[in-house]
């Protein structure tokens, strides 16, 4: 089955085409904010300007004719309303023109399913860290259950917020990672783990204060990473201990960070946990993950009408995972 998926919940607009075995082609066009953070309306304008071109390019790079596509899918949510509506419109148009079935996919579940696909992990605890989302999940009784999550903002957005104070443009995470490599001193910041939940907004506020007081930005970036990644690793560790699962999957854009991967790897070694993360192109938001998850959903009997409404705050545990035992 050949499946086309559209992703554009936030700043990255991306289209992927996959079959049951592999990615056939994958294109993206990230929106770059003129200044500051993401403006939802600007981002959606960007998406609607570029989407037709990206779809055409993805299809031609896959070396297929549009009629060979068997299934159309898109991110139904969670995400920014204006952005979601643009990709939903594009997906509806494709479905109606090509007369192929449509599936709306939960964005977070697509990260999980494509992560499993890419790593071969079977039943992992999932640490999903992106701009807006930071959650620890695990499968139980037909749902991906949330074991723990951020009580305020996602880690990616928290890092972006601090990066803006340093006048670094979006996305800030990779630039903070670079600076952190030159940091040496651990500066005291709040370590906020609450059961299996955590929070980041106090951490960023404290980091901003340290900056005003003249601490070196390299040291603050280093400490920000040490604190926030230790929190995530500890919560993943707790979820593993609590659930008894033996695998750990890291996904989401922040998962590209080397230091985070290193910490999780060390923790996994200690408990003899199998640790994996998807290859780079599947790590951040991408259309291939939507296309892959759509195949699983469609084959388990799920199909949506073109009239389906987007869900800006679509919860991971709202979705019945029909395709798993």
């Amino acid at each position: 089955m050949i499946s086309l998926g559209i992703e554009g919940t936030a700043w990255n607009l991306s289209v992927g085409i996959v079959n049951d075995q592999k990615i056939l082609s994958h294109q993206q066009h990230p929106y770059q904010p003129s200044d500051g953070g993401i403006h939802p309306r600007e981002a959606s304008q960007h998406h609607s300007d570029k989407i037709a071109k990206i779809i055409k390019k993805t299809v031609s790079n896959a070396n297929i004719q549009p009629q060979q596509i068997d299934l159309i899918s898109f991110s139904l949510g969670p995400g920014m309303g204006p952005c979601l509506r643009v990709i939903a419109t594009a997906a509806r148009a494709l479905t109606l023109t090509l007369e192929k079935p449509l599936v709306g996919v939960n964005h977070c579940i697509a990260h999980i399913e494509s992560g499993k696909w890419s790593t071969g992990l079977d039943d992992p605890i999932i640490l999903y860290v992106s701009g807006a989302n930071s959650q620890v999940l695990g499968y139980k009784s037909k749902r991906y259950r949330v074991f723990g999550e951020t009580l305020d903002i996602g880690l990616g957005n928290a890092l972006d917020k601090f990066a803006r104070k340093l006048n670094l443009n979006h996305p800030g995470g990779p630039k903070i990672e670079k600076l952190a490599k030159k940091g040496e001193k651990l500066i005291e910041l709040p370590y906020s783990v609450k059961g299996m939940d955590f929070s980041f907004s106090g951490l960023v506020t404290a980091a901003e204060k340290k900056l005003q007081r003249g601490e070196k930005k390299e040291d603050i970036c280093y400490s920000l990473q040490e604190y926030s990644f230790s929190m995530l690793t500890e919560v993943a560790e707790r979820a593993l201990a609590h659930s008894g699962k033996k695998e750990l999957l890291l996904c989401g854009g922040v998962g590209k960070n080397q230091r985070l991967k290193q910490m999780l790897k060390e923790m996994s070694l200690e408990y003899q946990i199998k640790f994996g993360y998807p290859k780079k192109e599947l790590m951040g938001d991408n259309g291939a993950m939507i296309a892959h998850t759509a195949i699983k959903m469609y084959e388990s009997g799920i199909e949506h009408s073109p009239g389906i409404e987007v869900k800006t705050d679509y919860r991971t545990d709202e979705v019945e995972v029909k395709w798993r035992e």
Binding site: Y191, G195, M196, D197, E226, Y227, L240, M263, E266, T312
Partner: protein, 196 residues
Amino acid sequence: MSELIARGAEAELYKKNQEIIKIRKPKKYRNKTLDERIRKNRTKKEAKATREARKIGVPTPIILDMKDFEIKFEYLDGEKIKKIYSRLNQNDFRKIGKYIAKLHQNRIFHGDLTTSNILKTNRNKIYFIDFGLSGYDGHIEPKGVDLHVLFQTIRSSHPEHTDSINIILNSYKSSMNNQKEIIQRLNEIEERGRYF
């Protein structure tokens, strides 16, 4: 001879005669300074809140001794409720709600209120353990978080028994004076952490 009886994410538990020694081992993945800071801080908090809780009538194990990274407790014969959740009765749930209210009335929050941190002994007593993430706070937020963490654990780990949430909550409400604001905050917390 002391025998390793449990290795959790936070600590190792050794049993010797009728005593339990809880040791917070270093985490290699963490920066050393940060690691020691966290372990020392949690050991101290745990000892303090465990004692305070028992004083105000919430059953917790007696502390026999402590050092920087370890605490010695009396041994309790029982099970984590996580393992016997389907066998708990209404009375157990009501006790849990009442004990949480007692802690909160006294400005103590537990900080890690999962079904792994509540025990039921062979004499049918409910005990609260693992106060390493606890604290003193007059605000409503950490109290709301306590309830949220417990209910989230029930929903994720015991999805067949979510009706217990209401029994715990009703018992909590009837034992608590200013519960309205806390329940309102709980609902807010459960809505938060979602997109925007």
